[in-house]
């Protein structure tokens, strides 16, 4: 019996026992589908985050309050509030005489509030930033203007709306000059940002930008920053600039030599690397758990194949009586298992791809720029793993079948 005949024979048997075959394959189907799905959805989520961050340019530098070890994320990202970083620190860094490479800066403070205009309400995030934000984040207004340094300094209650916030409150009407209530304060709208999409998991279009001074004093009652960003003119001088920034901040914070920094300066690339590490760890951890399902599925297949050998003892005896060699019986059962797991693998791949695709469609419908990608690696992994599972877990049943004594097998009741 050659390979193709064995495969045909296996299909014949699978057709004869449709329900049993399906249930047997289910474990592998779910396992493979999960692995594919997790890798695809993981890649989609990663690309979503990274594309947004990258779109803001690679010559950005971020300053986080609190010291952190290099490998981990900044403490402030972990939800710890540290109040040591002030807006004056950031303004001092912009002192052209000391670091001419810094072309723009902004601090960030933020809070959630309901914005109201003439009875229209929308839940939104207000962000206190400096007048340089459009330069730092490489964006612009589509209607009106961003606020100026003067407006920021004199604590004008002016607001620039994100494009979604604008539509939620005003429809298509020009909002410039209108008064919008954010929480208890009234702001005069002076502009609308162009559409920006999502960054990480926050929708940048459903935000309202206000002068940082107003955000700190009137809205939040604080005088520290969540974090700050600097734009550096020359990407190659990032390391140099970082050292300068560190020195200035240490001086301003009266940190003695030998004491650790109470802040953390990171370039965009470093932030990306940390993020990549975290998300990769998460992705592979999840994929490993899904991989466990494959092992369980493999054991299920082995179990059924052992039952199948037991049920077909007389058939095995007959095959031997008409001239089948032990090796041929072994190959027959091995191929049967591999065909079973390979079909399961293919169904699993299709299923996994389908679900990944649906996730991408839903994510895009929700406004995230989600890239649907199925890596060749995960397909290869699916096919390879399912065949290897067939080979490994098929071995014991196949060996048992091949070792049967033909006389005993023929007499088996």
């Amino acid at each position: 019996m050659n390979f193709i005949e064995n495969v045909n024979n296996s299909f014949h048997l699978i057709k004869q026992n449709k329900i049993r075959s399906f249930l047997t394959m289910l474990g592998i189907i779910i396992g493979i589908a999960s692995v594919i799905m997790i890798i695809s959805v993981g890649n989609g989520a990663q690309s979503l985050i990274f594309n947004q961050i990258k779109s803001q340019g690679s010559n950005l530098m971020a300053i986080f309050p609190g010291s952190t070890d290099k490998e981990g994320p900044p403490a402030s990202v972990m939800g710890i509030v540290i109040t040591t970083l002030k807006y004056d620190d950031v303004k001092a860094l912009y002192d052209q005489s000391r670091i001419p490479e810094i072309t723009a800066y902004t601090g960030y403070v933020r809070g959630s509030e309901t914005a109201v205009w003439q009875g229209n309400k929308t839940d939104t995030t207000f962000i206190g930033v400096s007048s340089y934000l459009p330069t730092v984040e490489d964006t612009d207004t589509q209607i009106g203007n961003f606020f100026t340094e003067e407006e920021e300094k004199s604590m004008q209650k002016v607001a620039v709306l994100g494009s979604d916030t604008w539509k939620n409150l005003f429809g298509d009407q020009n909002p410039v000059g209108e008064l919008v209530k954010i929480g208890k304060q009234s702001f005069r709208v002076i502009g609308v940002m162009r559409e920006r999409g999502t960054s990480g998991f926050s929708n940048q279009d459903n935000q309202i930008y206000i002068p940082i001074t107003v955000g700190q004093k009137l809205m939040l009652g604080i005088n520290h920053l969540s974090y700050a960003r600097l734009k550096v003119s020359d990407e190659n001088k990032l390391d140099l600039v970082r050292e300068e920034v560190k020195q200035i901040l240490r001086d301003r914070h009266d940190i003695l030599p030998g004491q650790p920094d109470d802040f953390d300066v990171r370039t965009q690339k470093e932030s990306l690397d940390v993020l990549l590490q975290i998300t990769n760890a998460l992705k592979f951890f999840l994929a490993a758990i899904a991989g466990l399902a494959l092992v369980v599925g493999g054991i299920g297949i082995m179990n059924i194949m052992l039952v199948s050998v037991q049920e077909r003892i007389r058939e095995i005896g007959l095959r031997k009586a008409v001239g089948a060699k032990n090796r041929q019986i072994m190959i027959q059962f091995l191929i049967e298992t591999i065909v079973l797991t390979s079909i399961a693998g293919i169904v699993g791949i299709l299923f996994g791809v389908l679900v990944s695709f649906l996730v991408a469609v839903v994510a895009n419908a929700l406004g995230y720029k989600w890239e649907f990608s199925i890596s060749f690696f995960s397909i290869f992994l699916g096919v390879f793993v399912s065949s290897v599972i067939g080979l490994i877990f098929g071995l014991i049943p196949a060996r048992r079948a091949s070792k049967l004594d033909p006389i005993d097998a023929l007499r088996y009741e």
Binding site: M1, E315, L318, V322, G323, K325, I407
Partner: protein, 242 residues
Amino acid sequence: MSNAIIKIENLKKQYENEEVVTPVLFGLDFVIKKGEFVAIMGPSGSGKSTLMHILGFLDKLSTGKYLFEDVDVSGLDDEQLAEMRGHKIGFVFQSFNLLPRTSVLENVMLPLVYTKLSQAERVEKAKKAIEAVGLTHRINNLSNQLSGGEKQRVAIARALVNDPSVIFADEPTGNLDSKSGLQIMKILQELNLKQGHTIILVTHEKYTAEHAERIIKMRDGLIESDEAVKNRLIAERVGELK
């Protein structure tokens, strides 16, 4: 080359199980010639099945000599035994042993699956064997759609398909009603008389055994008698009388 197809000399068989040795065959000698129809008869426990298994290459002898077509086959290993079964022997079993839910054609083709013949050659040979047992009209039926007699005829076709030197029939009528049983005996006799097949029939029934031309009677692992049948029953004639 002599016309002896099977020749055994002082053939002995014992089963060894841990420390217990159970002798089953105590030294048998006989010759079966090409074209003979021999019945091996005896009560259960007489060793007739063990003898058939050894002659049919399903089991190995312990001591003695077994010449098959003048070649000493006493010391063959598992692989060689399988080779002999596949090319030289056809088996018909009491309980048919057809593959379930599989067509007549595929059942008959089963022994050829383990040969190097092409698919077309296999189908051709199987069709010929099916024709020989008169089941051409059932060729695409599944095995579970057949009557007992038809199942055994498929089994005979399967035994014929590889052009064996010897056909072993182990209680072929044991699971059949007397009419179907006669039909099977008729086919076996035709294969022997008209086509010259060598047939070894294993049975405990005297009536069935008398369809052969020679009966080897066994008792307690020894040959009790070995003689020609005086009034051989011809299945066709007996069938007509009924």
